[in-house]
Symmetry: C2
Subunit: 339 residues, 2 copies
DNA sequence: AAAGGGGGTGGGAGCGCTCCCATTGGAAGC
DNA sequence: GCTTCCAATGGGAGCGCTCCCACCCCCTTT
């Protein structure tokens, strides 16, 4: 009596499909990749065998042979692991996910927050663990920038890193948006327009301050010095309080993001200033929270999902051997009650 | 004159490392996986060669040989691609990402919204494109459930699917939370406690209604029938309006999530009912928005990041060949002004 | 002194796929 | 009728790694 071996129950291989269809592995492979040079008869035989065996190609083996993993990584630098919970990144992920799906690439999410995370990203970059990488939220002198530079792999930056412009990036027109916001305040007759900056070790923070400053100078006004917050609500409240002390007569404030604008609103409310009657406030980002603020926040809208989508598309283009050009997405002012 | 060939500039292989170190591939491999049976001398020689060549193992080749991809997938079912922007999922991702990093697994994000997405997930599941899969937000009769069942791959459900309990899952105590919320309303002397249900084709929606109903019955009160919303703010407003028409005398309402509770608050405000004086409101989720609501929302807190983290940990355990047990995470009521 | 362990080592066979290339045979061209 | 050409085909060599296994050598046991 023959005992059945403990059956390893392995997935059928291409070899098995070929055998069942009575053809060679080569032919079966061609059918699967629908390459030419296969007769109608054999093609159908292979298709039948695939169905019968429930065959699904092994992506790992394919990856090894083609030297393509079929995946792209979204790498987020920064120290806070909960950055993925940030509504901004969540939107980026939505856009990137959609664009990668179109190109049949998988999305890997990597956080370079811990040492371990950074090591893993480095291995990914240097060991060809993905077909390409999107890099976001790099900080000043981020070591990731160099690793990425040395990696022989397509890399697209979402948002420019501080200082240098990489070869390929997608960014939002931060300077233009900040300028528009400031110009709007000026056009409403405000003349003492203060600013609450974001972190100046980020390009976003710098670019938005530049936009503010440009608009002020163009109007012949003295820009406020860069009062730095860190993009959080409390920091906005703090900077606002300091501003009120130093410049009790200010009649408007441009905050470099909505969180800080919300903090500013809180401080103004507590100080008994009416918004917008006494002080007009404009933010940046146009997150959902801006609409809910009291009063609803006038803010610069930026296309966040589009940022993710276009970053991914640029990466796909690179993976396909094309040569895209850097992209800067437009922003626009959304007028609500706060200004 | 010898022309240099166009140099393919390929990554050094283990073979190259071995050659440079003057050992065999086997020994080099052992060093890399720090396996025993390697003399000190050769170990150091290999390490030196690795450094000199800047060698990084090719994860794809390793994956093929070991039959392990080193990645886990978080699959989200549902029709709306922007689900990743949902603050709930964003938190889940944070937790899952952290837990997978501990186990040195990469996180792949898959959305089974479109046909293409579903096909890709199916290939992932059946073609062993990952070492394991976390499945979330399955809907009633979701075909993914069967595919997952047939896949010979560890699968952990985040939140139970409708009806059946899978072999491995991590869930939140929805019923207990809803019961506690309702009991709290009753303990404050409310007796006409209405309910705004979530979608009843989801287990979350059903479980939370069960909790409400149980508490009402236990108090000897007649539970309201399941008035179904779809977890969105507008639906909460609509259901609330209908409830006010049918039961003008209600003095409390339990909404199955914060979004719908916010809608209810809006309707109540427009109807001139004071909260909580006339009508007390309790929500579920404890998202950031609950704190910002007017009045701040009393709600059932659920540990969302922990849900993601524990789901991932359970998956890791399965991948390592262990046999974990399903897990239900506790919820607790957060008392604010609305009730 | 012969037999019996192991540690250390390298050869080689996969893992499951792609793709180059040699081979075949029939249609088209002279 | 005989080259010429090309679609169709299958064999085989990788892709870069892991891991089984046979082998050697030296140090203990009986």
């Amino acid at each position: 009596m023959v005992m059945a071996d403990d059956p390893p129950r392995r997935q059928p291989t291409l070899e098995a499909v070929a055998e069942l269809a009575g053809v060679s592995r080569s032919v079966a492979s061609r059918v699967l990749n629908n390459a030419p040079h296969v007769s109608r008869v054999k093609r159908e035989a292979v298709e039948r065998a695939v169905r019968e065996l429930g065959y699904v190609p092994n992506p790992t083996a394919r990856a090894l042979a083609t030297r393509q993993t079929g995946a792209a990584a979204l790498v987020v630098s920064g120290e806070d692991p909960s950055i993925f919970a940030d509504p901004f990144f969540a939107q980026v992920i939505v856009g990137a996910s959609a664009a990668l799906e179109e190109a049949d690439l998988h999305l890997m999410l990597c956080l370079a927050a811990t040492d371990r995370g950074r090591r893993r990203v480095e291995e990914l970059l240097r060991g060809k663990g993905a077909d390409g990488v999107m890099l976001m939220a790099l900080r000043e002198n981020d070591p990731l920038a160099r690793t990425a530079d040395e990696a022989e792999m397509p890399v697209v930056f979402g948002g420019r890193p501080v200082g240098t412009a990489p070869r390929w990036y997608v960014d939002v027109d931060n300077t233009g948006g900040a300028r528009e916001a400031t110009e709007y305040l000026l056009s409403r007759g405000r003349t003492r327009v203060a600013v609450i900056c974001g972190r100046l070790d980020t390009e976003v923070g710098r670019a938005r301050y530049r936009g503010y400053r440009d608009a002020m100078l163009a109007a012949g006004l003295e820009p406020f010095p860069p009062n730095e917050g860190d993009f959080t609500e409390p920091s906005g409240a703090d900077v606002m309080a300091a501003l009120l002390l130093q410049h009790p007569d200010l009649d408007a404030v441009f905050a470099a993001n909505d969180n800080m604008a919300a903090g500013a609103l809180r401080t103004l409310r507590e100080a008994g200033r009416r918004v917008p009657a006494d002080v007009a406030v404009v933010g940046f980002d146009d997150l959902a929270a801006a609409r809910m603020a009291d009063p609803p926040l006038t803010t610069v809208h930026q296309p966040i999902a589009a940022l993710g989508r276009e970053t991914a598309r640029m990466l796909v283009a690179l993976v396909h051997g094309e040569t895209p050009t850097p992209l800067i997405l437009p922003t626009h002012l959304v007028r609500r009650a706060s200004a």
